[in-house]
Symmetry: C2
Subunit: 215 residues, 2 copies
Amino acid sequence: MSVTPATPTDDTDGVRPERPLLPLVGPRPPERADAARNRTRLLEAAARLVAECGPEHLTMEAVAAAASVGKGTVFRRFGDRAGLLMALIDHSERRYQEAFLFGPPPLGPGAPPVRRLEAFGITTLRHLATHRDLLLAVEQEASRRHDLPPRHVRHTHLAMLLREAGAGGDTELLAHTLAAYLDVTLISHLTRQRGMALGRLEDGWLDLVARIVRR
Amino acid sequence: MSVTPATPTDDTDGVRPERPLLPLVGPRPPERADAARNRTRLLEAAARLVAECGPEHLTMEAVAAAASVGKGTVFRRFGDRAGLLMALIDHSERRYQEAFLFGPPPLGPGAPPVRRLEAFGITTLRHLATHRDLLLAVEQEASRRHDLPPRHVRHTHLAMLLREAGAGGDTELLAHTLAAYLDVTLISHLTRQRGMALGRLEDGWLDLVARIVRR
């Protein structure tokens, strides 16, 4: 998955291969009604497969079979398996992104930057924990996980807040440090393999923000 | 790859499947001379394949063919592809681990903990940059990358130094934050895709240590 725009194809559905998450959320481009119905049908089939067998068993072929369409349709629509997985969490990812970009403070604009940093980490930890299995499957699929759009959005947002907070230093690298704490593979490791409570990770985030911005 | 000891097998070579990197370095268990020769031959064939085709083309089958042995021999010896890849960087990984565990200060024991933290990051960044392609291949292979022994060693070492430095806070989580900065996939992303100089990452490390230990 790439953050550059998808190139046009000779897609028979009249749509481009889907890049469900833009670097920043915006309105989804209009689709023809039949394309939208097709998309909904494929996603419903995919969601059913995930619910029944787990995301690790979700394949493009299985979705095509479950939705009674050709395999090519699924590939044209979602690009690859990572695209399909991201489309499955598109709705909640959009709601999460809209909350920190445009929602009410302290998560959204209007609160002091350090307060927003604190709220962003807590919200992100809970978002990642909720969608852990799907997000882990996306990570495993993506060959260049640091290019995933959701990571890009988080990094950009953290860099902006660090700048506003006057944290100094190399903002881009400090933002990577904060983003690395909010990593679904790390969170999964700590909560699942090490048995840590999410509350401990939330406390750790607040402490980390205080250290990074030197309060 | 797991940090728990390998279980004995009925290996026809008289050796256990290899776990080349222990959580902490120690002497390698003695092997029979023919097993040692066999190991060397396989690793030489693997190194040749990596040099000629890149680590992404290294398979257990290709190594077996190149060394004129059965596929089962390669699997018994290295366990899986991640084990084979780790065996290939075993020598330099041991030297690196010995340097920070037992070597001269400021990297090894004897220097103040913050000075050791600084030296550890710089050494690790250079080590990861040098072996980037092989280490990336290991990461992609490992289904649970946070369980990889080299990560475990680094985390343990960082936690010890943070404790000695009196950093306070949740040492385990702070060590994960520092370790996340020393992540080969992040370093590869920043240097290769974003064109950052390694020197900038090294400066960023020194700044990060100062913030985390609140100096």
